[in-house]
């Protein structure tokens, strides 16, 4: 089955990438996935993040989810937590913005201040 062959290939790549990555340099990305977030498009944001991280082979980034944090009007919300740096929360994120957050913030370390809601 084609799918399982793909999974095996992916597993090999992941294993090599894990062996190379530096210890403790784990970035965490949190997507608000309460009813408000889901209704606003949080799942598409999560899909876009996973897709972009996969394409860039960024295995030291964990994408996780949280419930409603009471800022429903700004959903979909995305938190980026880089070790040793303050947490950054982006509001009204869509799939395209999510991809830019990966490219600019996670890869290049540049915060996209226009989209930040916790200044």
């Amino acid at each position: 089955m084609k799918s399982l062959e793909e999974l095996q290939k992916l597993k090999e790549e992941a294993r090599q990438a894990i062996a190379l990555r530096e210890e403790g340099a784990k970035v965490k990305v949190v997507v608000g996935m309460g009813t408000c977030g889901i209704a606003a498009g949080a799942r598409e944001v999560m899909s876009a993040l996973l897709d972009e991280l996969s394409k860039r082979r960024l295995v030291n980034v964990v994408v996780t989810q949280t419930g409603c944090i009471g800022l429903c009007v700004q959903e979909p919300l995305v938190d980026v937590l880089v070790p040793g740096k303050p947490q950054v929360t982006y509001g009204k994120v869509n799939a395209q913005k999510a991809r830019q957050i990966v490219a600019q913030h996670i890869v290049n370390g540049i915060i996209i201040s226009d989209w930040v809601v916790n200044k």
Binding site: Q8, T35, D51
Partner: protein, 183 residues
């Protein structure tokens, strides 16, 4: 919500918020009986009778607890609009089971939608839950479980982005096949 898969994501998120470590999703499509059944069961902390009754009331519930918000009432109203119903059974300390039934061919029934993305979203996180997903279409069945996935992955964690991406595509492809290849 435009897709049933988004309602399902909402239910599964409720389960995670209730501290569930094991989730079971069963979707049954039966054309002969014109029935669509969506069932989510978890081993979370559960609710007592009073809380379970209130969970279907949008206003009472949101004020009382964050455990369940507007999600259940929204799905209940969708199910009822589509000639069906929503039932909730819960036991404190044991878990919660939600069953939504609707007419498969009802004009107002939302499409199932992107189930792969829903499952991938639920499995994201540092400690992903155990999940068993069964999808039956007129007697044919597709099964996906994290236990099965882990046997293929070995020491590679399943919450890695490329793995979740694969899970999403694999589930969507399998369900398309289950529906006879059409999208």
């Amino acid at each position: 919500m435009e897709e049933l898969a988004l309602h399902i994501l909402d239910l599964l998120e409720n389960s995670l918020a209730a501290g569930a470590g094991r989730l079971e999703l069963t979707i049954t499509e039966d054309a002969a009986a014109d029935r669509l059944i969506i069932e989510v069961a978890d081993d979370g902390r559960g609710m007592n009778k009073e809380q379970a009754g209130a969970a279907l009331d949008p206003f009472f519930t949101t004020r009382r607890t964050r455990r369940v918000g507007l999600g259940l009432p929204l799905l209940k109203s969708t199910a009822e609009q589509c000639g069906g119903s929503l039932t909730l059974a819960s036991q404190p300390g044991k878990g919660t089971r939600v069953v939504a039934i609707m007419a498969l061919n009802h004009v107002d029934r939302p499409p199932l939608g992107n189930l792969g993305a829903t499952i991938a979203a639920v499995l994201g996180g540092e400690e992903p839950p155990e999940l068993l997903y069964r999808h039956r279409v007129n007697g044919k069945e597709f099964t996906f479980s994290t236990a099965w996935l882990k046997t293929h992955l070995g020491e590679v964690p399943l919450q890695m982005a490329p793995v979740l991406k694969w899970v999403q595509d694999y589930i969507n492809r399998s369900i398309t096949e289950l529906h006879g290849g059409e999208n």
